[in-house]
C-alpha cells in the first residue's frame, strides 16, 4: 500500500487543530473544486485533498491515520501489526486496497455497528467513470468495455479491490461533457438491496473537420473567388458519408449553407443539421497571364465592396 501524506496535501502541521484543517481545506476547495476551477489537473488535485480532509476532519479516522506512522509520500508501507486489530478488525491483507479504502472501511464498519442489522438490505453504492470516445463513436453510437476497480467486502468484514467489468452501449448523438447512467452496474446491493448505478462522464475528442454545437455540426467550406461568383458543385464530407453540395452563384464569405438532417441524431429525436461555413480563399501565387486576367476583371467590373463605408460615414 502506498503512503499518502494527508497533512502535507492540505498544507497543515501534524498537530493542526480541527479549525486549521477546515480552513486549509476550504481555501484549497475554492481553488481546485472542479465546478469552479479552470486548473488543468483540478479534478485529480481535488480528489486528493477531499480524501485527506475526509480522514483528518473525523477524530476517529485521524487517530487511525496517525497510528500508521510517518512515511514518505508514495512509499510502500504496511500498517503496524496491531493496527488492524484496533481500526480494521478482520482485515488481514493490505495489498489489494488503497489507503483511502481503509478509512472508507472504517466508516462502513461504523455504519454497520450502529443500527444496521446484519440481515438488513442495503443498496449498492453508485460508481462513476470517465469514458473517452472519438467523434465518430459519438456520432454513430458505440459499444465499450470498461474495467473498473471496485471495493468489495468479505463476509468476515475485510475488504479488497476486485476488477469490475462492464460492457455498455453508448447511444448515438452524445456530446462532450454529457453524463449517462448504466442502471444496476454500480456496487452490489447487500442482503437483497438493489445494486447501485454506474454514472459515465463522456469526453468526446475534437474532430479535425467538424465542430459541434448542440445537435448541429459546422464544417469550413473554402471556395475560390470564381467558384463563389459563378457557383459550383463540391463534394463535401459528412459524418454519414460524402455528399454533393450545390454552391449557388454569388455565394458570399461567412454564408452558411445548410445540409438538412446531416447533423447529430440524439436517440429517436430529429437529426440536427450540418452547416458548411463559406470561406473565400485567394491564391497567393499568380503568374503573369493570371494577373492580366485579374486586371481585365478589375477594369470591367463596377463592383465596390466598400460602398457602404462611404455611405455610413456621412
Amino acid at each position: 500500500m502506498k503512503y499518502k501524506d494527508y497533512y502535507g496535501i492540505l498544507g497543515v502541521k501534524r498537530d493542526a487543530n480541527a479549525d486549521e484543517i477546515k480552513t486549509a481545506y476550504r481555501k484549497l476547495a475554492r481553488k481546485y473544486h472542479p465546478d469552479v476551477s479552470k486548473e488543468a489537473d483540478a479534478e485529480a488535485k481535488f480528489k486528493e485533498m477531499s480524501e485527506a480532509y475526509e480522514t483528518l476532519k473525523d477524530p476517529e479516522k485521524r487517530a487511525a491515520y496517525d497510528q500508521l506512522g510517518t512515511h514518505r509520500p508514495g512509499q510502500d508501507f504496511r500498517p503496524p501489526p496491531d493496527w488492524g486489530e484496533h481500526f480494521a478488525q478482520g482485515q488481514s491483507g493490505f495489498e489489494d486496497v488503497d489507503l483511502s479504502d481503509l478509512f472508507a472501511g472504517l466508516a462502513g464498519r461504523a455504519g454497520r455497528r450502529g443500527g444496521a442489522r446484519a440481515d438488513r438490505a442495503m443498496p449498492g453504492s453508485d460508481y462513476e467513470a470517465v469514458v473517452r470516445i472519438s467523434f465518430d463513436q459519438a456520432f454513430h453510437g458505440t459499444e465499450i468495455d470498461l474495467e473498473l476497480s471496485a471495493l468489495e467486502w468479505d463476509p468476515d468484514g475485510g475488504m479488497r479491490r476486485v476488477p469490475h467489468r462492464v460492457r455498455t452501449r453508448i447511444p448515438r448523438g452524445v456530446t462532450n461533457g454529457e453524463k449517462l447512467r448504466v442502471p444496476g452496474k454500480g456496487g452490489k446491493g447487500i442482503n437483497g438491496g438493489p445494486d447501485g448505478d454506474l454514472y459515465l462522464d463522456i469526453e468526446v475528442a475534437d474532430h479535425p473537420l467538424y465542430r459541434v454545437s448542440g445537435n448541429d455540426l459546422y464544417i469550413d467550406l473554402p471556395l475560390a473567388p470564381w467558384e463563389a461568383t459563378l457557383g459550383t458543385s463540391v463534394e463535401l464530407p459528412t459524418p454519414a458519408g460524402a455528399v454533393t453540395l450545390r454552391v449557388p452563384p454569388g455565394t458570399r464569405a461567412g454564408q452558411q449553407l445548410r445540409l438538412s438532417g446531416r447533423g447529430m441524431t440524439r436517440g429517436s429525436g430529429a437529426a440536427g443539421h450540418l452547416y458548411a461555413l463559406v470561406r473565400i480563399e485567394v491564391p497567393t501565387v499568380v503568374d503573369d497571364a493570371q494577373k492580366a486576367l485579374y486586371r481585365q476583371l478589375a477594369e470591367s467590373s463596377n463592383f465596390d465592396p466598400r460602398a457602404h463605408l462611404a455611405k455610413e460615414a456621412k
Partner: protein
Amino acid sequence: MIAPLQDAVRFDSITEVTWTQLVKASGMDEAELAELVRYGALEPRDPSAPTWTFESHWLLVARNASRLRRDFDLDPHGVSVVLSFLDRIEALEAELRALRAQVG
C-alpha cells in the same frame, strides 16, 4: 465469460424518476432535498401532486447538489444559489461553444 451488454441511458426530459430514486441517487438527506424543491432548485413535474416525480435530468442536479453540499460544507440555501450560478455558467458555455462552432 463475456459480460452482457447493457444500455447506457440519457438524462432527458422524457424519462421520469420518482422522489425515492432522486433521494437515493443524490445520497442527500430527504428533508434537505425537499428544501431544495421549496427554493426552486429542483422542479417536480407537479409540485402539488401527493408524490413528486421528476424529469430524469433533475437526477444530475440532485447529485450535483449533494456534491456541493459535502465539498463546500454548504447549507441547502447556499447549494441552491451555487446551482443557479452553475446553471448560468453552463448556458454561457453552450452559447460560447455555438459561437465558436460558427466562427471556426
